[in-house]
Amino acid sequence: MSLPDWNSLKNKLSILADAAKYDASCSSSGSQRKRDPKGMGNVEGMGICHSYAPDGRCISLLKILMTNFCIFDCKYCINRVSSDVKRARFSPEEVVTLTLEFYRRNYIEGLFLSSGIMESSDATMEKLIQVAKTLRQVHKFQGYIHLKVVAGSSQELIEEAGLWADRVSANIEMPVQPDLDLLAPAKTIDSATTSMNQIADKVAESKEEQKKTFKAPKFAPAGQTTQMIVGATPSSDALILSSSQSLYKKYGLRRVYYSAYSPIPHADVLLPREQPPLIRENRLYQADWLLRFYKFDASEIVDDSSPNLALDMDPKTAWALRNRAFFPVDVNTASREELLRVPGFGVRNVERILQMRPHRKISLTDLTKLNVSLKRAKYFVVTSDHNPDVLLLDSANLKSSIVPEHTQLSLFDLATTAKTGEL
């Protein structure tokens, strides 16, 4: 391979990585690939974050755009046709080289490739596919590849992309069509969900084939995800979560990423100048976690009477305060589902409690040793010993005991739960 001109590559990289940083998806997990004896790279299920940016976000993939030229004029996007940013374009070979050189030095788990739309959706999608195909076929690269579906790509191309990539995904961008009409008039929820549907069908089909014969090609084994921008329009959390819930149900999505709209240079005037509080994004991740792992229904978390998540407490605590009749839960006898609804009990803590229960009566001190957040949990549980705080369950000022009015929100806590969402 002839050495490319590093300086020109660096210039393009600074433009095309900069433009890609607003996409929140970064995970590289959920796939398995063994190294090809003649090539390099593998995927071992769990993704690895190879670095962290000063914004606390994990860097696990080379996340870039093929180009930031775009014929679309989506207002929340820095690459829209009417923005005055510097433009650049990678050739497929350049992306291949960068991926291999980065991967070889153990900087990354693989590639996350997206693009502005050049002449047409399909022409652009073909370029992305070419990169993935070259990596796999010519270089025998078995690292992780995530391709973003260019809005409006045809079914054939989506199907081809899934043959080479671990994950193929389409961004929904906004929870409802009127939001898109306002900010991205050329995009439709319909076209995004059509892509999702095509991916989901193909994933299911390939799983069936796999059952019959091991040689059947895998299609996007890591499944699909999507991203929704939050806070650029006045849409409520109720709208956002019910839209997520239906995406999970209909298309078997692995994850919905919420990206608090981030003020961008050259922002359109229609957009809020201020960043919506990052805590809202965090609360959405927590609520989303409740949907996926705690079997909550979106309507239990937010509804018409309180369409937005409380910012001063996590959604599970908020639910518990509204549903006190459900409590107290007896730590020594309750079911897994019941335990999962206790504020401060995470999935892992619940597993630990269940593991210990046959061998030991569980006391309050035991809960501390398991690192349960007693500050939140103690009002809602009965333990083997005397728990005086549970008597406060029906008291009028329970809320202020759990969430003292002047607690400083710890950004650190936020950042960690934002990653896992676990409560």
Binding site: Y52, I71, F412
Partner: protein, 463 residues
Amino acid sequence: MSLDSLDFEGWRSKAREYLVQGTLPQDTSWGSELGFVFESAKKTPVTAPKVPKEFLELAQAVSCARDDDRWLLLYRLLYRLNVENPQLLNILVDDDVRKAQLLAKSVRRDIHKMHAFVRFKKTFIDGEEAYVAWHKPEHLIIKMAAPFFARRFGDKPWSIFTPDGSAHWNLEELSFSKGMPQEEFEHEDPFDEVWKTYYKSIFNPARLKIKAMKAEMSPKYWSSLPEAEIIKDLIRDTPKRLQDMAEAPKYLAQVPTSYSWQDLKDAAAKCSACPLASKATQTVFGEGSLEADLMIVGEQPGDEEDLSGKAFVGPAGKVLAEALEKAGIIREKVYVTNAVKHFKWTAGESPEGKARIHKKPGGTEMHACKPWLEAEIALVKPKVIIALGVTAGTALYGRLVQVQSERERINTKSAFAEALTITWHPSAILRAMSEEEKLERMQNLISDLRKAFELATLKKLNL
């Protein structure tokens, strides 16, 4: 006590010996000077020691911990498992179990971080491409962590050096040797600069969270991470970058909320939301029937429009008038306006320097001015809108439109009207390269206008 005095296998055989003799944990010794055993009275010999699988997994991880008491802790657990309670490992709140779990967790995390933070440098050894890295783990994990790299990068030789031991891959097998202090590791890789460029660009200054970064990428690992060198600068520059972003000029026309067409026009006449107003003579607002079913949207006023204050009166306006007439449309029955309401121009280079040369409005002006267009649309509520040329098309379609290929298509997805369509801007006809092209485009314009008008006047749009 030296940390290297024993390894896991050594501990296992020693532990078995102790156990068979029934030695109490407090009577064992795990230092390098092993061998002296108290003759304790309370011995309970374990003739057939049981070692559950979960214990082995736990113990293997704990054995890598940089903790002087780990061998004793492991023996105590093993002893209690055999003598006291075979279910001990399930009592997660037991002090010994908990300590072992915490150590194991810390070790596993350290292994994970090693997989993440090793930064290979490309080098050539005897002309052959090879990769080397220096990394400082917290625990003694090199043997447990190295196989990962062999699975992933097995097609090239590599070495990883740590202060406590080094791992080497020669394409066939892993071998281990003694450690190396950081000062002795002298490899450099110019490619680190490319990585730093990436790191810098992917950071979003609007979300600075230093603590979160440090929690995941502890400064104890930073000395071998090339990107760590620029973290300070990135953090220092953040406030300025945010300020620059906030101060970047943003323009938006302020449209009155309750209005008639006259109010709108009057308000627009005073608009100075964007810099165009200061150079232009006056605002050129749209006009026509407020009941119109068809709205025609052009780009922006030109020189003559700017002087007269009326839309489409210059050369392009004449072309439009002719096309409308040939299409059989009475201009007063439609509404005609522009996407941008002020004339944008630069001074020409004529001797008198008087010529004002039309300049295409940019995205900034288009967005700034759009509320006026939207207000006109909301007032007139046309069934069909036809955009003349790319600028008007972009404003209405929300994407770059190609007149040539899209002019006969009817867009029904628009939030602005039931149908949206596009055709040539009259000035594209004036600028046509040949007579032939001119004629063709003129015919296109006429037929597109006629179709749009017919569509608009149909009783019920049936698309």
